[in-house]
Point group: none
Chain length 244, copies 2
Amino acid sequence: MLKTKMKNISIVLYKPKYAGNVGSIARAAKNMGIGKIIIVEASGFDHEEMQQRSTHLAADVLDKIRYCKNIGEALGKFNYIVGTTARLGKARGPFISPRAMANDIVNISQKNKVALLFGPEDTGLANDQMRFCQSVVTIPTSREFTSLNLSHAVMILCYELFVASSGEAQELVPTLARSNELEGMYGQIKTLLANIGFLNPENPDYWMMHLRRFFTRAGILSREVKIVRGICRQLEWYAHHKKT
Amino acid sequence: MLKTKMKNISIVLYKPKYAGNVGSIARAAKNMGIGKIIIVEASGFDHEEMQQRSTHLAADVLDKIRYCKNIGEALGKFNYIVGTTARLGKARGPFISPRAMANDIVNISQKNKVALLFGPEDTGLANDQMRFCQSVVTIPTSREFTSLNLSHAVMILCYELFVASSGEAQELVPTLARSNELEGMYGQIKTLLANIGFLNPENPDYWMMHLRRFFTRAGILSREVKIVRGICRQLEWYAHHKKT
């Protein structure tokens, strides 16, 4: 029976604000068998406060935290990135539930490195970080108060993954393209679409967001990235060739 | 479809030690639509610390906390009491999972008042409190570190109840493109790729098959077909425009 490969799961915290939350997250991660945390664009957290919340049993997770200066570097080696948002009602969907995410990740985690990406406590993830994500999870809550404590949100996702780690047999997912391969492809598509006048120069990311969602929903493979880039190259060559 | 009656659910904390945890629990409860907390054999928590963790949006839950001097009094009016423990391997079972508990409570909560009972942070519930319980939940964890933060444990149970309160954890599947929309798109792509010399005229379907696989794996939507066709049209226009 297929189980989530917990060792292929990492938690990526974008600009967390509070040492206490980082400590609580280390504890939650360790409770659920996850050992890797990456912190992006934030550092200098009070170690004592972190350790108090993590307890000494999760001190090893704290000590191994990797700090990255930018999100591209942090996510570059991951094959599948799961974003999290409380913001329903904005046109950034589709959003999936933590349980559906966990069911997907059972398969994906077999051969792929998976990042769970969380935004800052006060604002959550912005579009600039969301665009890296292959899927976006919204934790169901009461309408009266939708904002979860960051460590609670992390715990719910880790818990669902852990429960799914004893789950049903499903089909095997092959190795997906890495984030830096995807970004290279998106950059090339964006340039091409700008050149042919398809993208509005004032808001080039509107259509790109739709394309990103579509490509990543498919779970695009390395070799498919190469096909798409080959087509783009040929289109560029053709356009240039016609010009001269 | 039957849903958990969240208004019939209360959280009962037996001898909690830390004001911060009580505040976090108030927030978690409110996030999941639970408004009632009872604290047994403990009081005098620092209000500022509680409120900092609950945030002002859960201040009403904090203000309504009922303090009881003994557990019999606290639990007397409840019809069904769910205990929680991390202690596996002791002869106090049978233990059920949070999910199984939530499924049971859907029915039970229709006509019964349900208490979720949690013990102190360090020791958990002892037999003296366990004997009140109709069922006992153990949250699944990694064997390396089984002890959850109290507010995390509360959150997981409340979350499972909340998910069960919305009936099935169903995903909204949007309407996919119809076959004739897809075929129109493939025809247009094939023409374009032939025109720019990307497709081998002797075997045009080789790359097209790869593209078809990719597009259909994604479950492409109507509006996405329109975007792709818009891009193709623009590319054709651009190529033609350059020519003349």
